[in-house]
Each structure stands twice: as structure tokens, then as C-alpha cells.
């Protein structure tokens, strides 16, 4: 599978839905990143319409949610909602449960 070079600030989009994510933190390197079973698109790439959401993928990216790998070394922010589970190097990313704080500003 093709790999994407990710660094903080990289915007990636789904090839099968409207989902968009922004990389918040990541150890520098190349990653296999898919959404809904199809490789995600890097900056400047656009979907050719050939990919479609994998059967049985009921996952979705929710606007404003942060997605992390189990070690929390990678963190991505969903900047546009869309269907499909995001999978990084074979492992599905989880929503990071933010500890809710009272508004302090």
C-alpha cells in the first residue's frame, strides 16, 4: 500500500467520504493511513471516485474529535466530518476522551 508522509499540520482527506483530518502530532515518517478501507489522500490530492466505503465499516469521523493511536504518539483532529474508520499502520484510531474542564477563559 502507498504510504503518506505525515508531519504536524498535514491535512489528509478521505477518498470515500467528506472526512478531513489534520495531523496534530506524529513522529516524523511515512505511514499507511486509510479511511473506510481506502488510502487517505495527502495535500493536493483529490479522489478519482474509484474508491468506496468498505462493506461493514460503520465508523465515522466526528468534527472536532481527536483521534489517537493506542500509545498516543499520533494525534489527529477531525476538521470535517465524514464516514469511515481511520486506520493507521493497521490499527484503528480511537477518539481521545478529553477530560472535560469548566470554561476558564
Amino acid at each position: 500500500m502507498s504510504k503518506l508522509t505525515l508531519k504536524a499540520g498535514t491535512r489528509v482527506s478521505s477518498a470515500v467520504s467528506d472526512a478531513q483530518l489534520m495531523v496534530i502530532k506524529v513522529p516524523a515518517g511515512e505511514y499507511e493511513l486509510t479511511c473506510g478501507g481506502a488510502p487517505m489522500l495527502g495535500p493536493g490530492e483529490s479522489a478519482d471516485g474509484s474508491a468506496s466505503l468498505a462493506d461493514g465499516d460503520a465508523g465515522a469521523c466526528l468534527m472536532g474529535k481527536r483521534y489517537v493511536d493506542p500509545e498516543e504518539t499520533v494525534e489527529m483532529l477531525c476538521t470535517k466530518a465524514g464516514a469511515g474508520t481511520v486506520v493507521l499502520n493497521g490499527t484503528a484510531l480511537d477518539v481521545k476522551q478529553a477530560k472535560q474542564l469548566p470554561s476558564s477563559d
Binding site: 499540520g9 489534520m22 502530532k25 476538521t79 478529553a98 474542564l101 470554561s103 477563559d105
Partner: protein
Amino acid sequence: MNISMLLDMPADVFGERTAVVCGDQSLSYGELRAAAQRAAVAFQKAQARYVAVLDVNSPALPVALFGAGYAGIPYVPLNYRLTRAEINELIARVAPAVLYVGAQFRDLIDPRDDVQLRDTAELLDGEGDGGFVPVDVDPASVAVQLFTSGTTGKPKAAILRNENLISYIIGTVEFGGAEESDAVLISVPPYHIAGISAALSSTYACRRMVQLESFSPQAWLAAARAEQVSNAFLVPTMLSRIIDHLDQTGEAAALPSLRALAYGGGKMPLPTIRRAMALFPQVDFTNAYGLTETSSTIAVLTPDAHRDAAASTDPKIERRLASVGQATAAVEIEIRDDAGQALGPDEVGTIFVRGGQVSGEYLELGSSLDGDGWFCTRDVGFVDDEGYLFLDGREDDVIVRGGENISPGEIEDVLIEHPAVADAAVVAMPDEQWGEAVAAAVVLRTGAAPAVEELQNWVRERLRSSRVPQAIVFKDELPYNDMGKILRRVIRQEFLQGAA
């Protein structure tokens, strides 16, 4: 990646919702984004190194902040309460720049060739996005540069990078978390970190900002009622003035929409917070502790912790009303002794903090973080066994009496609980025997006239004898800066000169 993404998301999803209101001016999230993108185009054309603003709160200020983000140029809001000479000195430090200035401040500025002067009102002119083309902004680039208040010397230029501010906001604020009816009343000035973080966090939460040009108790209460404000942030002196105003006028403390009141930026006197909780029992109070160099809040005392402390008779719980709360999930806090060793619960030392939002960096001095990323706040304090942080003043304010370190805060807390005392500040004064001795400047309540000995005995009965002020002077008022920070330097100087 830059701070403009914190506006892009609300504008994409809630474009029609009101983002900011000030008097009869208002902008939706969509309008705010269009204005910020037009501004970005103007900033890029100006080829300036900085976008500086000298003006009071208005919708033009968030336009400039986010516009600078879209353009990838550092934003520098300047303090309009400084003297003419001080303002021009800061302008010289950001040139070449484009400087947006309110009409009322224009005469303060000495013209220079490398500063393009424009009227703040221009930021709200025009339609559409002005042909804005997104630019790639390095997350490590500077988003905001704030000049520190300079209470101890020449103002330092604190650097906040895009990654610091974004880390702070997405780590502590839920995107779109506000109800459409929510509104936050912003009365802190735009050149303060609290003003910057209020604009960023309110926008990301999609909480309507209601701006006050300048604070007065009457204006604050009127705006809170007229705009059905649900949230507000105040510095302690502002809250004191609101309470005094209500007490003096007998006006009802009716703020039916207000649900949450956060405070910070200075020490909150215990009598003030107790009175505020009694006046506004339905309101959730939050104490937020943070610094410019930490992109704002690093510890919060939650509404529940306020209520538990106020209701408790256990001294350990009760004293937490004076705490700034526990570290947020986004940072770690550690107390260290003079040798750099980490201290345990209830041991007083210097407060260190670490986390993605901590910049700890100044333009001229570079990063002040240690090798492991820890920032020395220069604030003194301790944590209790459950991580509640108590502040004990600044390192520079500690009184060293015969080798014993004495923090002014604990003595001030005791003095201010005396029924005759309205306000108190404790400083070091030179002493032949002890090196330094404890001195206090006290403001009395109207009609009260206690003897100096009475106040000294009051302290002696509650603290060790070394804490008893050797000299006490009575003043009409104490010197504060415009954010409610006490200017101990001024009081120390008076004791030094023997004028007090």
C-alpha cells in the same frame, strides 16, 4: 497549521451563528472568517514583519488576530494604557510592521517610515474574502507575541507559537461545545493573554463573544443582562468592584442567565470569593491559573471544589477555596526547592510546568525551558496531597528574614480577614538585624481606626512571631496595574525611602 483553523471549523459548520457582538456591531462566524481573510490579504500586501494593533476591544480585534493567522504573520496587540514613550518604544521593537490603531489613540503614535499606520475600522470594511489564497504555515511559527506587563523591568516579548496555542485550545475546549444561546462577556483587555485565549477558546467552542470596550461595574452588569450572558471571566479586582457596586447601590444581584464565572490573573481575596458565591449562588465559579508563557490556563479550581471547600469544616478541604486548583490534563506541575529537587505535598518551593501549550520563550532571550521541557514560572507555592496548588507569591517577593523565607501572601491573607482591613500588601524592608524585615501597607475600611499593635497582635495570634509586620502604614489605596496585579515594587520603594 495555524490558529486560523480554530475559526475555519466554526465557520464551516455554524457560519450563520453570531460570533462576536460589541455595542451595535456584530459578526457571524462566516462574516468573521471573510473579514479575517480580507485582512490577511491586506497584511500580505503590506509585507510587514508584524501585525500590531493598538485599540480597545471590538470585533476588529478578532479579525486582526485570525487574519494574522491566515497570513502567517505574528500578531502583536499593544497595551494602550502605557505611556506615550512606552508605546512608541514597543512599536520600535516590532518595526517593520503594519499598525492598526483606534482613532482615539492615533495621536499617541510618533510616525516612522517602517510602520504603516491604518485605522482599526478598516479591518471591518469590505465584502467577501478579498481573493484570499491559503498559505502553508509552519506549526512552529510565531502566532502571537505579547509584551509582558513589565512590572519588574523592561517588558519582555513572550512568544506563543501556533502549536502552543492550538495545543492549548484543542486540549481544553470541546469544538462547538457551547449552546447557541450561550454568550461570554469579555472585559479583559485584548493585549493580555486572557484576551487572546478568550477569543480563541470562545470561537472554537462557538460561544458568542460579547465585548466590553472598557470595564466598569455598571457597564459589565448592563451588558451581562442585555446580552443574557452565560459565561464570564474576571480578574479579582473587577469582581470586587462589581460586589462593591451592588453593596453600595443596593441594586439586586440579578443575573439570571449567568451560569459560569471564571477568574484569574491575580490573587483572589477570600472575603471577595465568599461574598461572590453568596451573592450568586446559582453560578459555577472557576479559578483559572496561568501565565502568558503557558498560553493561559494550567490549573483550575472547579465549581464543585469551590462548593466543597465553602461547605466543609475540615481545614484541609476548607483551605482549598484559596487554591488555584489542580493541573489541567494538558500539563504537569512540579514544585522544586532551590537546588532543583522535586518537593512533596505541602512543601513550599518554586512552581515548574511542562506541556505542549507551554512556550516559555522570549524573543530576545530564547527558550527558558530546561532540557526536559520544564518551565520555571517564578511563582512560589505548594501542592497538597491531592494535587491542589496553592500560590504563595512571586520568587522576587519572598522576604528573607534572618535566613527564613517568608512569603507575603500568608500574612496578607491573615491581615485581610481582620474586620477593619479592606486591603493589605506585605513587602520586605531593609533591616540591620535581620537583613530583611516584614512591612505591611494596609487600607482600612471606612470609619475603622485600629492601632498598629492591634493588627500586629492579630497576625501574632495566627502565625509565627517572625511573620508579624515590624512596620505597618495606612494608605488610602494600594497601587495596582490595570489587570489587578499589585505593584509591590512601588510599596517596597516607599518603605526603602522611609517616606511611608
